[in-house]
C-alpha cells in the first residue's frame, strides 16, 4: 500500500501537528529534510483553507513533473487539480490576462529572468495585484528571490515549504532572506529514506552544520522493509538497460501499487533508455515525463515513471534507478542534484554508470562499507616472479 499521500490524524507526528496550530493570518515557512512530510503538510494546509471557506488559493511548484505528481494526489485533500500550477504557467497566464504577453527565450535561466522582469514591471505599473488569499509554494528553495517576491505580492498570505540542501538550480538563495522575514518552523524527522539511503545522502551533504544527520533523524521502518543501495557499473548504457529491465520485473511484483522511478541526469542519455523501455514488457506501465515527449498525468495503473533527474525533484519512489550517473558531472550544483536524486528513493536505490562517477558520490557510496579493511601492500603489488629474482 502506498504511503505517499497521508491525511489521517494518526499519521502526524507532534512536529507536524504543530504546523496545524500556525495562524492562517500570518506567513509561514516550513523547513525539513527530504521525506519529512513537507508537501503533505502544504496540501493539508490547502485543504484546511478550502474547508474554512477560503477557496481562492494556489499551489505553486517549480517543475511540470512535480505539478503532475501533486495533482495525482490532490484529490486526497479535496484540492482541485487546476489549483496546482508551475510558476511559469501562473506567470505567463497573468501577463496574457493583463494584455502584456511575453515570449520567453529558450534557455532555462534566461527565461526565468525574463518572466520575473515582465511580471515585476506589471506589478510596478499597478496592473497586477493581489490575486489569491494564500499562495502555497512547494520546494521554495528552488525559486529565485524575485520569484518569491512576486508570489508574496500575488497572495495575501504565503505558506512555503523548503529544504536548502535540495536547491539544485542556479541563482541566489531565497530561503535565508525568507527566514528573516517570516515565521519559520522546522521538522526534525523524516520517514521516506531507508537507512542505507540515508548513509549515502549524509555522505553527500557537504556542510558540517552540527545538525543531526538524515540517519539520526530517520523514522523509516528499516526492520520491516530493509533498504538497499547498489552501485552497478556496466560497459554500455544498453547493458544498464538490460539490468534495469530485469530488476523492474522483480520490483513491480515486490512493491505493488508503488511508484518506481527511472532517471538520467542528461537528456541525451534518457532518450535511448525510454526507447528500450517502450520496447519492453513494461511499455504499458510507463509514465514518461520529458520536455521532448511531453508531460502526462500520473495514472494509478502505471507504476514506472521515467524522467530527467532534475524533473524527479519533489517526487518519491519505492525504488529509484539513476542511469548514466556519470552525467552528473555536467551540471552546476551537482552535489545538491545528487543529494536530491538519492533522496528520491524510499527503499531501493540503484546507481548505474559506464564511466567514472563523481568523486563525492564515490566517497558517499563508500560509507556503506565503513569497516572494509585497508588493503595491504601484498595485495597492491604484483608478486615478484621467480625469473625476475634470478
Amino acid at each position: 500500500m502506498t504511503d505517499t499521500w497521508w491525511v489521517k490524524q494518526g499519521q502526524l507526528d507532534p512536529h507536524q501537528k504543530n504546523v496545524f496550530t500556525l495562524s492562517t493570518s500570518d506567513d509561514h515557512l516550513v523547513k525539513g529534510p527530504p521525506g519529512s512530510g513537507k508537501t503533505n503538510l502544504l496540501l493539508l494546509r490547502g485543504k484546511q483553507l478550502i474547508g474554512s471557506n477560503i477557496p481562492n488559493i494556489v499551489v505553486v511548484v517549480h517543475t511540470r513533473t512535480l505539478q503532475e505528481f501533486i495533482r495525482s494526489g490532490a484529490h486526497n485533500y479535496g484540492i482541485p487539480a487546476g489549483k496546482i500550477v508551475t510558476f511559469r504557467k501562473l506567470g505567463t497566464e497573468l501577463l496574457y490576462r493583463v494584455g502584456a504577453p511575453v515570449t520567453l527565450p529558450s534557455g532555462f535561466d534566461a527565461s526565468r529572468e525574463v518572466l520575473v522582469d515582465a511580471l515585476q514591471d506589471q506589478i510596478d505599473a499597478g496592473r497586477i495585484h493581489q490575486e489569491h488569499s494564500c499562495v502555497l509554494v512547494d520546494e521554495a528553495q528552488d525559486f529565485l528571490p524575485g520569484e518569491i517576491a512576486i508570489l508574496r505580492t500575488l497572495g495575501e498570505r504565503f505558506f512555503g515549504v523548503a529544504d536548502s540542501r535540495q536547491k539544485i538550480y542556479k541563482g541566489q538563495d531565497s530561503i535565508k532572506k525568507l527566514e528573516k522575514e517570516i515565521n519559520t518552523v522546522k521538522l526534525p524527522f523524516h520517514y521516506r529514506n531507508g537507512h542505507k539511503i540515508c548513509i549515502v545522502a549524509d555522505g553527500l551533504a557537504k556542510e558540517v552544520t552540527g545538525e543531526p544527520t538524515l540517519l539520526e533523524t530517520s523514522k523509516y521502518p528499516e526492520a520491516k522493509l530493509e533498504s538497499t543501495v547498489e552501485r552497478l557499473p556496466f560497459n554500455t548504457l544498453d547493458e544498464q538497460c538490460d539490468e534495469l529491465i530485469e530488476r523492474l520485473d522483480t520490483q513491480i511484483k515486490a512493491y505493488p501499487g508503488e511508484l518506481i522511478g527511472i532517471a538520467c541526469p542528461r537528456g541525451e542519455d534518457l532518450v535511448p533508455v525510454v526507447d528500450r523501455l517502450r520496447n519492453s514488457e513494461f511499455a504499458d506501465q510507463l509514465i514518461v515525463q520529458t520536455s521532448d515527449d511531453g508531460y502526462e498525468a500520473f495514472d494509478p495503473d502505471k507504476s514506472v515513471c521515467v524522467s530527467k533527474l532534475h524533473s524527479a525533484k519533489g517526487l518519491e519512489f519505492r525504488a529509484f534507478h539513476i542511469l548514466a550517473a556519470e552525467g552528473l558531472k555536467k551540471f552546476p550544483l551537482q552535489r545538491e542534484l545528487t543529494f536530491m536524486g538519492v533522496t528520491r528513493a524510499k527503499t531501493s536505490l540503484c546507481i548505474y554508470h559506464s564511466a567514472d562517477l563523481p568523486s563525492y558520490l564515490e566517497g558517499a557510496l563508500s560509507k556503506l562499507n565503513p569497516d572494509t579493511p585497508l588493503v595491504g601492500i601484498d595485495a597492491l603489488l604484483e608478486a615478484d616472479d621467480e625469473e625476475g629474482e634470478d
Binding site: M1, E226, T228, K253, A254, Y255, P256, G257, T347, S348
Partner: protein, 475 residues
C-alpha cells in the same frame, strides 16, 4: 424474555387471527424451566406478547422444535400459515441446542482474530473468483457467499466453542437444495485452515495441537499470531528438509530478494503433498511483506499447483498482530468484520430469505413450492440462527451439477457470484422459484430438441412413436 410451552392448536389459533385473540396462559421462567422441557413446541418472545396493532397477531419471535420433529413441523406450519411464506423469513424455528443462545444473547465477537478471518474470507473469494481475480474488483457479496464467511459468523456467535465445524452439514444441504455446482475448493482442502482458525480462537494460550493438523502448520500459525514472525517454526521447516537453510536466509533479506527467493521456491520441484505445499506457498507469500496481504498477484500463477495457497496467505497475513488485512481493497475487510459482528439476537425477526430446514421442505419434493427472495440473483439461506449463506439463485442447468460433491472437481464449472455482485438488485422481489422452474422447463425442452437432432436414424419429418409419445406427454 417470555416463553410458552404450546401445542399446534394454540399455534394455529395465533396464526388464524381469531377475534378476540387467544388468551395466552401458562408462561414459564425460561431460565429455570425451559432447558429440559419436553413439550412439542416452545414459543418465545423477547418481550411481553402483545397483539400486533393491525393484524392482531401474537407472533412469537422464535419457536423451539425438537430435532426429530423439525421437518414434519415445518411442512405443517408452511401449509397452515400460508400468509407467512417463507415462514422462517418471519419467525425463527430453532433446535433446543440454541435455546441458551436465545435466553442469554451475547454480542458477536471474533476476539483477536478479526484480521485472520477477514484475510481468510477475502482469500477464499479470490480463489473462487476464477481467471478474473482482482482484489480491486472484489465486492462484498462474493466475500459473504464464501464458506469461510458463514463459518466465521458461527464462530463469532459462539456456535463452535470446541473447534468443531457447526455449519458443514447445513451448508452442504443448502448447496444441494439450490443445485449449486461442485465447489472449486473441496471441504477437505478448506477444513484444515478453518480448524487452525477455530483451534487458535478457542484458547490462544493453552491451545493444544489438534491431532489432524500437521505440526509445523499449527506451530507456524501459533508463532505468527503470538510472536509476530516465524522464527522457531523455520527450524521445523528446515529440519524436515522442506526448505534449504540458504533460502530461508534469503527470505529474511530485502524485499526484492524475498520475491526472487519466493519465485525460485515455487517454480522449483515440489515433492510435498497438496496441503503442505499450499500452506508453504501462502506462508512464503506472507513473508515477503508480513501482514500486508499485498502480494496476492504473486500467488495467482501457482493456484493450480497449490490450490489453497491464497487461503493460507490470507490466514497467515491476518494472524500478524499488526496485520493490515482489514484495510485492503478499500477497507473491504473492515466491512466484512462489521457484518460478521452485527448484533442479531435469536429473538428478533430474521434478516434472511429462508432457513435451510424450510428450504428443504420447499425444494426437496416433486413439485417445489414457490417463495420470494430479496434479490433476483441470489438467495440468503439461514444455516443456523443468525448465520447466513449467500448462494447464486436460481442456478441454471448448465451451471449446476446433478450430484453435488464434497470433493474437488477440477473441470467443474462454478456458479459462484460474480466478483462485483451487489446486494441491491434491480427488479428484486420477483418470484425466484417461478423463474427457477421456468428455466428448468426451458432447459429440459432444449435438451429434448438436442437429443432429437442428434439421433441420426430419425428424420424430423418422420418421428417414431416414442417421439410422439414424449411430445404428447409434454404438450
Amino acid at each position: 424474555m417470555w416463553a410458552l410451552p404450546a401445542d399446534r392448536k394454540l399455534l394455529l389459533d395465533i396464526f388464524s387471527r381469531q377475534s378476540p385473540p387467544p388468551h395466552l396462559t401458562g408462561f414459564v421462567d425460561p431460565k429455570r424451566d425451559l432447558v429440559h422441557s419436553s413439550d412439542e413446541l416452545l414459543l418465545l418472545w423477547a418481550s411481553e406478547p402483545k397483539p400486533a396493532p393491525q393484524s392482531g397477531d401474537y407472533l412469537p419471535d422464535a419457536i423451539v422444535v425438537q430435532p426429530k420433529q423439525m421437518r414434519e413441523f415445518l411442512a405443517w406450519i408452511t401449509t397452515v400459515a400460508g400468509g407467512y411464506r417463507p415462514f422462517t423469513a418471519f419467525i425463527r424455528i430453532i433446535d433446543p441446542q440454541y435455546l441458551q443462545h436465545a435466553i442469554e444473547p451475547k454480542e458477536p465477537s471474533l476476539g483477536a482474530f478479526e484480521n485472520a478471518v477477514a484475510g481468510l474470507i477475502i482469500a477464499e473469494a479470490l480463489t473462487l473468483a476464477g481467471p478474473q481475480r482482482s482484489l480491486s474488483a472484489l465486492s462484498l457479496l462474493p466475500c459473504e457467499s464464501t464458506y469461510s464467511y458463514s463459518f466465521a459468523r458461527a464462530l463469532a456467535l459462539g456456535y463452535a466453542p470446541d473447534g468443531d465445524d457447526p455449519i458443514a452439514a447445513s451448508f452442504g444441504l443448502a448447496r444441494k437444495l439450490t443445485r449449486q455446482p461442485a465447489r472449486k475448493l473441496s471441504d477437505e482442502l478448506l477444513s484444515t485452515t478453518l480448524k487452525v482458525l477455530s483451534g487458535l480462537a478457542s484458547d490462544t494460550k493453552t491451545a493444544n495441537h489438534p491431532g489432524d493438523i500437521p505440526p509445523f502448520i499449527w506451530e507456524t500459525c501459533r508463532e505468527l499470531q503470538s510472536e509476530r514472525e516465524v522464527t522457531q517454526s523455520w527450524g521445523l521447516l528446515a529440519d524436515a528438509g522442506v526448505l534449504p537453510n540458504q533460502l530461508l536466509a534469503e527470505l529474511r533479506g530485502p524485499r526484492e530478494q524475498r520475491v526472487r527467493a519466493f519465485e525460485r521456491i515455487l517454480k522449483g520441484p515440489n515433492r510435498l503433498d497438496v496441503l503442505t505445499s499450499s500452506f508453504l506457498a501462502g506462508l512464503l507469500a506472507d513473508q515477503i511483506s508480513p501482514g500486508s496481504f499485498e502480494h496476492v498477484d504473486l500467488l495467482l500463477p501457482y493456484l493450480n499447483q497449490y490450490p489453497t495457497a491464497l487461503i493460507w496467505y490470507g490466514l497467515c497475513a491476518g494472524l500478524h498482530p499488526d496485520s493490515e488485512v482489514q484495510q485492503v481493497g478499500n477497507c473491504l475487510g473492515r466491512r466484512l468484520i462489521r457484518d460478521l459482528l452485527a448484533y442479531d439476537p435469536i429473538l428478533s425477526r430474521p434478516k434472511y430469505d429462508i432457513a435451510v430446514r424450510e428450504l428443504e421442505v420447499h425444494l426437496d419434493r416433486e413439485e417445489p413450492l414457490e417463495f420470494r427472495t430479496a434479490s433476483q440473483n441470489h438467495i440468503a439461506v439461514e444455516l443456523l440462527p443468525g448465520v447466513p449463506a449467500y448462494m447464486k439463485w436460481p442456478v441454471t442447468a448448465t451451471e449446476a451439477v446433478s450430484t453435488p460433491s464434497r470433493g474437488v472437481s477440477g473441470s467443474a464449472r462454478q456458479a459462484e457470484l460474480p466478483l462485483n455482485s451487489s446486494f441491491a438488485e434491480p427488479g428484486a422481489g420477483l418470484l425466484s422459484a417461478d423463474r427457477h422452474y421456468a428455466i428448468q422447463d426451458l432447459e429440459r425442452a432444449v435438451e429434448r430438441v438436442k437429443r432429437i437432432l442428434t439421433e441420426p436414424s430419425q428424420s424430423p419429418s418422420a418421428p417414431d412413436k416414442g417421439d410422439y409419445k414424449r411430445r404428447g406427454k409434454k404438450h
